[in-house]
Assembly symmetry: C2
DNA sequence: TATGTTATGTGAATTTAATAACATGAGATC
DNA sequence: GATCTCATGTTATTAAATTCACATAACATA
């Protein structure tokens, strides 16, 4: 089923989006879907949808389309979401709080197994069914909860040391919300989520493109 | 100064990142920087940095590098950040709250001019110096505060109607945090921020690539 | 004033990704 | 059971983005 080919990261990104779209279709009782409908639903071209899926196998039926439940299962499998992933979130501030309470992660099989902070006034506070832990307990909880992925939600100034802590404790992947480039060893998967870049793309388009057409 | 060329969105994205890196350098008293140092600092190649800047003009001095203050000013100008932008955030939930309190927006010249919700229990609550407004006041405040950009932080189910409301009230750009593709007229600039796609890229890399190398 | 050094700016080459076009095969129809 | 329809899967084409390589110009030095 799985071809061996370098898969563009853009394809993986779209796969994640297709997958959640399929989830919605499935919840709505839709049983079959075409590449055109997926394309329409997520805002890409039908050829793109088929191309993306083709990296991983043949999931459809010619002349018919895709079985929603099956394709959903396949996309989840491809994304590694046929298993549960435990997360550690470091930084129980505003963003950390929002992330902890976000139900969308749970739906996709993510389990927030620990939230950590170094501010004594925050430690011990409850966020939903979670309790904010002191940073000191990080190693122990990573171990006991089998956590492989860390989320950084601390200020820029603390991001690198938190990343170092995560690496030291054997985490394999890091999702970083602090807007800095972090130094980690090559074997660590790291991705940044930047909440303001897209906003500045908007202002660029409003301001610069407007100026250009003067 | 400004060449007329289609600028790749990836270039604008990186420009936003360079710009914030330059801000850090400037705060640290650094006066001159090379494309190599910028590249190092943000995690791209030096050629990429120069190529990106070349879309907009010549900002450096050969043999020397770039003047940090000047280049910062130019990048801000290019991104449209030489002016203040008023934002309306709709959805005063966990994410909306985090966005409202995030100081990083202010630093870059964004001014949150209104936060709106339709939940009576949330309306009137204070978030920092802001007060959550009922959706009914949206048209009036958009007008009086000269708001051109809207931020959607409501659940998926309400996102399209909020987008429609924004379009109807003359907003020109939308930043959408709900993980759905929204339908808006062509003249509206819209970008989605998806907080979980990157997480699923991580699991893909951990799970799929691991499986491939078996 | 000539020379050496250094990092920019840019055109060409390469790589990568997206689009288009079409052959294929599954199912429906007659 | 032959034929027709339709949407997939795939190859070919086009487009886009990135990297490379080097000529260029500013500055420092002698
Ligand atoms: N809030 C937003 O909407 C938003 C938007 C864009 C980017 N970000 C980024 O996300 C990160 C978090 O933002 P926030 O708004 O939640 O900030 P915040 O100040 O509300 O929370 C940061 C938390 O990290 C904790 N912390 C600081 N140093 C620590 C350390 N060494 N170890 C453990 N915990 C530590 C603090 O005690 C605090 O609770 C920042 O890097 C910010 O730039 C946030
Ligand atoms: N919280 C996160 O970390 C996170 C992560 C990823 C994506 N998101 C997305 O961001 C969005 C907001 O998430 P959240 O966690 O803040 O949810 P939330 O439930 O905490 O907040 C949503 C808010 O929107 C308000 N609302 C609902 N319908 C509305 C309407 N028609 N008009 C105005 N307000 C309305 C609700 O009253 C509520 O206050 C969702 O689409 C979610 O999928 C959130």
């Amino acid at each position: 089923m799985l071809k061996t080919l370098r898969v563009p990261e853009a394809t993986v990104t779209r796969l994640s989006i297709y997958s959640r779209f399929l989830e919605r279709l499935d919840r709505n009782g839709v049983t079959t879907v075409s590449s055109g409908e997926i394309a329409e639903g997520v805002g890409v071209s039908p050829a793109q949808v088929r191309k993306d899926l083709a990296y991983f196998g043949e999931f459809g039926t010619r002349g018919v389309g895709y079985n929603v439940k099956d394709l959903l299962k396949y996309t989840l499998k491809i994304l590694g979401l046929d298993q549960e992933w435990s997360l550690a979130i470091v930084g129980a501030g505003n963003l950390g709080f929002a992330l902890c309470t976000y139900r969308g992660f749970n739906v996709r099989g993510f389990h927030i197994a620990g939230v950590f902070d170094n501010d004594p006034t925050r430690i011990g506070k409850r966020i939903g069914h979670l309790e904010v832990q002191p940073l000191e307990r990080f190693p122990e909880i990573v171990q006991s909860e089998n956590i492989r992925i860390g989320v950084i939600a601390v200020p820029i100034s603390a991001a690198q040391e938190v990343a170092d802590l995560m690496v030291k404790n054997g985490l394999e992947a890091i999702l970083n919300f602090a807007p800095v480039a972090l130094n980690v060893p090559d074997h660590i998967e790291i991705r940044n989520v930047d909440l303001s870049v897209k906003l500045e793309i908007l202002t660029f388009n409003l301001a610069f493109r407007a100026a250009q057409s003067l």
